[in-house]
């Protein structure tokens, strides 16, 4: 698959995009220690980026990181946040990283609206393969980012909830 060979998109670029957004959202001086949730439950955020080929950015993180991120964005204690607010915050994180990724792609591309799932595997990118991936540690919270691309040429937002 060589459709992106002329672009600057790489694992390093993906990581830099995530770090840049995190630098805006998380105050380095803030208390971003783990919130103490026991579970290893994973949050998944996905945003489609369509242009010459359907593609999508998929982000996995722990609920713990979602709580920290939302707490920073809402300016409140993570314990006071609802799951919807945590999903909102992670979706906006995906939107901003997606915008940075889009800027690295050649040609005309368009962002979709972000989706967030709490079940970890509820979001699919059918027919797509990972193009590059990166891992970021945000104050001890692991985040994985994968950029998927499909060889299909149909230009639609193809990432979605797996209803099956």
């Amino acid at each position: 698959m060589d459709m992106f060979s002329a672009t600057d998109l790489s694992a390093e670029g993906l990581e830099a995009a995530a770090r840049n957004v995190l630098a805006m959202l998380l105050d380095p001086a803030a208390d971003v220690a783990a919130t103490g949730t026991e579970e290893e439950e994973v949050l998944t955020a996905c945003i489609s980026i369509v242009g010459a080929h359907p593609s999508a950015l998929v982000i996995h993180c722990t609920v713990d990181f979602g709580n920290v991120l939302a707490g920073a964005m809402f300016g409140t204690s993570p314990e006071e946040l609802s799951p919807a607010e945590v999903n909102d915050a992670l979706g906006e994180f995906a939107n901003m990283v997606g915008g940075s990724v889009k800027a690295m792609l050649d040609g005309s591309w368009q962002l979709g609206l972000p989706m967030v799932s709490r079940d970890g595997d509820g979001i699919t990118v059918p027919g797509a393969e990972p193009w590059c991936e990166a891992y970021v540690d945000a104050f001890g919270h692991p985040i994985s980012l994968r950029f998927y691309v499909s060889e299909a040429s149909d230009n639609h937002h193809f990432a979605g909830k797996d209803m099956g």
Binding site: A89, N95, M96, G99, K102, L113
Partner: protein, 118 residues
């Protein structure tokens, strides 16, 4: 100053409000959660500035701006968005936007965008 902040993400609306304060802008803010909600509020009361996201459900930010101008409203309008390629910047300017702030942003982004425009 009265500012209408239009974004489908409540978290982002909070960040925009906080960043306005950090930029030294003393603003009373009203929130709207998509373009249609923004249009309804913008036409119902007067604002000094509208800050809008681009990608939103129900009505895109650019459609909101176009509808606002078609209604004869000339309120100062800026996009705060992850969409920032040259084509979209031109589309925004052509529709009547004064500036486009790219996400991620900081207080300086707002200071530079708003300098001399208010």
């Amino acid at each position: 100053m009265k500012v209408l902040i239009v974004d489908d993400s409540k978290a982002m609306r909070m960040i925009v409000m906080r960043t306005l304060r950090q930029a030294g802008i003393d603003a009373t803010t009203v929130e709207a959660e998509d373009g249609q909600d923004g249009l309804d509020k913008a036409l119902a009361e007067r604002f000094d500035l509208i800050l809008s996201d681009w990608n939103m459900p129900r009505m895109l930010g650019i459609e909101f701006l176009q509808a606002l101008r078609e209604a004869g409203d000339k309120t100062k309008f800026g996009f705060v968005t992850s969409e920032s390629n040259p084509d979209m910047r031109q589309l925004a300017v052509d529709a009547g936007a004064s500036f486009l702030i790219s996400k991620p942003f900081n207080a300086e982004s707002f200071e530079l965008a708003l300098d001399g425009r208010l």
